[in-house]
Symmetry: C2
Subunit: 467 residues, 2 copies
């Protein structure tokens, strides 16, 4: 089955999202999907709080004049902004934008909040919905007109060095967040022609979808003093002078959830990392006449015991075990405990691992020890497996032909002389997008020459087909 | 100080919200305020989940045709809807409303989700931002153009009885939620002329602000089959017939946070119930030359110990104890532990209670037992105190003159013959709003006659000045 077909089908049948909402690019989070989303968000939130980011919440609506103050920024977004023009039956005095991102909402307040160096660094984040009038093909969690989950962090610093240090902290934070979800990635400095509008440079995280196309799942922007000059975010230095703050911002979105689903899933449906699975264990009693009650009683006992060590669901619905197996495999529950007449007699249970589709029998008494261990193994196995597949699709190419050969299958690394002209030519020649140069910066490029002009390569450059 | 002045000042100085965002009726949640909000929301979310409500998330934008399908509903909202008319530079084919509430977004999906009686009851909720083009005076958390926190639940049932039962469940759920926050209330069936547009009837919770005006803090709507007929939410009964579902919906908003702030606060600032306080205990070391290090070391020890039983902040900033006292009183931290040279010597600490502004000395060794006990006492004391004040301002009146006398000071109960005419006359005569009749329904009205027409009273009716 093609990936995009599989993806649509699994979102539907595992009840992640409903795509039947009657507006292009807008979808409904179903309860099961919402639970996955919530767990992913909570992990990110915890990391942000632990690193001193404070949570805030800004309005959704941004006045036109404010959105347009940063000229590069608005140039980058003007085709994508939804505009509110009327309140009730009355036309508004000033149009209001649905935030496409919140720099222009937040930084005027930064200008009020920051007085002196003692107020710095300032590190805040919010988790909000943002809006983009997408004209391309929309797709749940990947390209939506309402991004339902946009975590954006914004920071201000006294020096360029501290802002650069913040970019590194954000890099570490996102790296470990993606690691935790078992989502493999490369981080690249985006080329000049593809950086965030208004930024000095952009570091982006890309993962690979099963169809070989790269998906941008996180970005970090070094803003330097660009926005602080526009929005007059100044502070008094220790020496008593007024200076513009150095700023950064970084974000991840619903796409993280999309990648968890797409990367770990298989032909039977979702395969969820235990850390974000709504249920980590499902108990399916195999009921048989005569011992029905006994089995159910034991199943409840097992649920009680396992609830101490995992999130457990006992499926005691009146449908066949086969249907339940299918149902919970589709939903990606990491472990299934099967309990039938034979197991009851022997004091055992069969444990099925969703990641490897393998069964093993354990004595009931050891289950409370076995389950947490297996959950850890599943978590680690998914991570390892995803990285292996990812690395298999990370190619190195010397010539344009080679780049072209691999570019539909994954990410291709080649040499780059460093000129924008060659970068753009490369994109045209191979019908791919330049992801950028490795971050953190490598010492020497592995490929010696730029495949476009033949000059010595200054950097490695990455190319892929992208979402 | 007048309440509205006090309220604005406490939001500012305790860093709850910043009102300087440059659009009328839109405000910024500051980190400290955000933490209070988060704890309030989490308590509500837990109650909803425990009672079988599943969390979902619907789009913010509702197509015009869909919003207008329920005619009474749209008539009630059309003056208040923000409209998105443009995407980028292009005019949209169909206008999109920023949800003022989500019935018209959700129920068309209910129509797809519900097939048979086995799918019922269906109980979902979401916590979202909603929008109202308010033309009245706006005020943070009380009347905003973007309601940042709207928890709306929506349910569908097979029978009218089950829907009525759901109204009662929602009543219990909200009652205990408000109790937990120490927010006193009366619940009233709103008069016909003030019910939710499209509902059969509305039960509303009102509390009292310190200025004597009533604030609606929660509503429950019995929708009957009104919306299910409009949106074709049908199901197959056990007998194989198609029937329209019976529906309810109920919501609370940011106003809950406003009432926690307004009701418990005093002239020194916020007074937070321990359950929702970002910090429950602040430790302030009283540093003195010579024993400075010793005191700080002990303060850290105390923080470690108390962290096991409460959310603790050690304020070791280099500013005077007096300033710290003032700062944390403003922020409403329930308990302050003061630790100075004398206490160090004696092995004691002074504990200051924010609710009663009283100090008491305890031995350090008993603190881990004392603190949780005091927190419970504060929680209970705030609740009790708030209810006492509330009941003092719940008046009974026999005549229009009496109603008029009390109506600016609180909620006035009088008799009502039951006619809309008298209800509306009452509002005009006393320059107040009818809140409705008591819910659950009382047996006999306490006041015998309708003060407008003099006929025998059928019900008690409540009147107040409202927000």
């Amino acid at each position: 089955m093609e990936f995009s077909e599989w993806y649509a089908e699994v979102l539907r049948s595992a009840e992640v999202m409903d795509v039947r909402y009657p507006v292009k690019g807008l979808y409904v989070w179903l309860p099961y999907g919402f639970e996955i989303r919530r767990r992913v968000i909570e992990r990110l939130r915890r990391r942000l709080r632990e690193t001193g980011h404070r949570e805030v919440l800004f309005p959704t609506l941004i006045p036109e004049t404010q959105l347009e103050r940063e000229s590069e920024h608005i140039a980058g977004f003007e085709d994508e902004v939804f505009w509110v023009t009327h309140g009730g039956l009355k036309e508004l005095d000033e149009k209001l934008a649905l935030r496409p991102t919140s720099e222009t909402a937040i930084y005027p307040m930064f200008a009020l909040w920051i007085r002196s160096h003692a107020d710095l660094p300032l590190k805040v984040f919010q988790i909000v919905n943002t809006f983009r009038y997408e004209t391309k093909h929309t797709r749940p969690l990947i390209r939506m007109r309402e991004i339902t989950t946009f975590k954006e962090a914004h920071t201000a610093h006294a020096t360029r060095e501290e802002a650069e240090e913040q970019v590194r902290e954000a890099f570490e934070l996102y790296s470990s967040f993606f690691e935790e979800l078992g989502v493999p990635y490369v981080a690249s400095v985006r080329p000049e022609w593809d950086k965030f509008p208004g930024a000095e440079y952009t570091v982006a995280f890309d993962t690979l979808m099963p169809d070989g196309r790269a998906l941008q799942i996180g970005t970090i922007h070094m803003l330097g003093q660009n926005f602080s000059r526009t929005f007059e975010v100044t502070f008094e230095t220790e020496e008593g002078e007024q200076e513009y703050a150095y700023m950064t911002c970084y974000g991840v979105s619903d796409r993280v959830v999309a990648s968890v689903i797409a990367i770990h899933g298989d032909e039977h449906g979702l395969v969820l990392p235990p850390d974000v699975a709504p249920y980590q264990v499902v108990i399916v009693p195999i009921l048989k006449k005569g011992v029905r009650k006994k089995i159910l009683r034991k199943a409840r006992e097992v649920r009680e015991e396992l609830s101490e060590v995992a999130r457990v669901k006992l499926d005691d619905r009146d449908v066949s075990p086969g249907r339940k197996f299918h149902y919970w495999e589709l939903k990606g529950v990491p472990l299934r405990v099967e309990l039938g007449a034979r197991e009851l007699e022997e004091g055992t249970a069969v444990v099925f691992r969703r990641d490897e589709l393998e069964r093993e029998t354990y004595s009931l008494s050891e289950l409370p020890d076995v389950v947490p261990r297996l959950l850890e193994e599943v978590q680690e196995n998914l991570r390892r497996r995803a990285w292996e597949r990812f690395e298999e699709r990370l190619h190195r190419a010397e010539s344009l032909e080679e780049v072209r050969e691999f570019v539909g299958e994954g990410i291709v690394e080649t040499g780059w002389c460093g000129s924008e002209e060659c970068g753009r030519r490369l994109e045209e020649e191979v019908e791919g997008d330049v992801l950028g140069t490795p971050y953190p910066e490598e010492r020497e490029p592995e490929v010696e020459r730029c495949p476009v002009c033949g000059e010595p390569a200054e950097r490695t450059i990455r190319v892929a087909k992208t979402y």
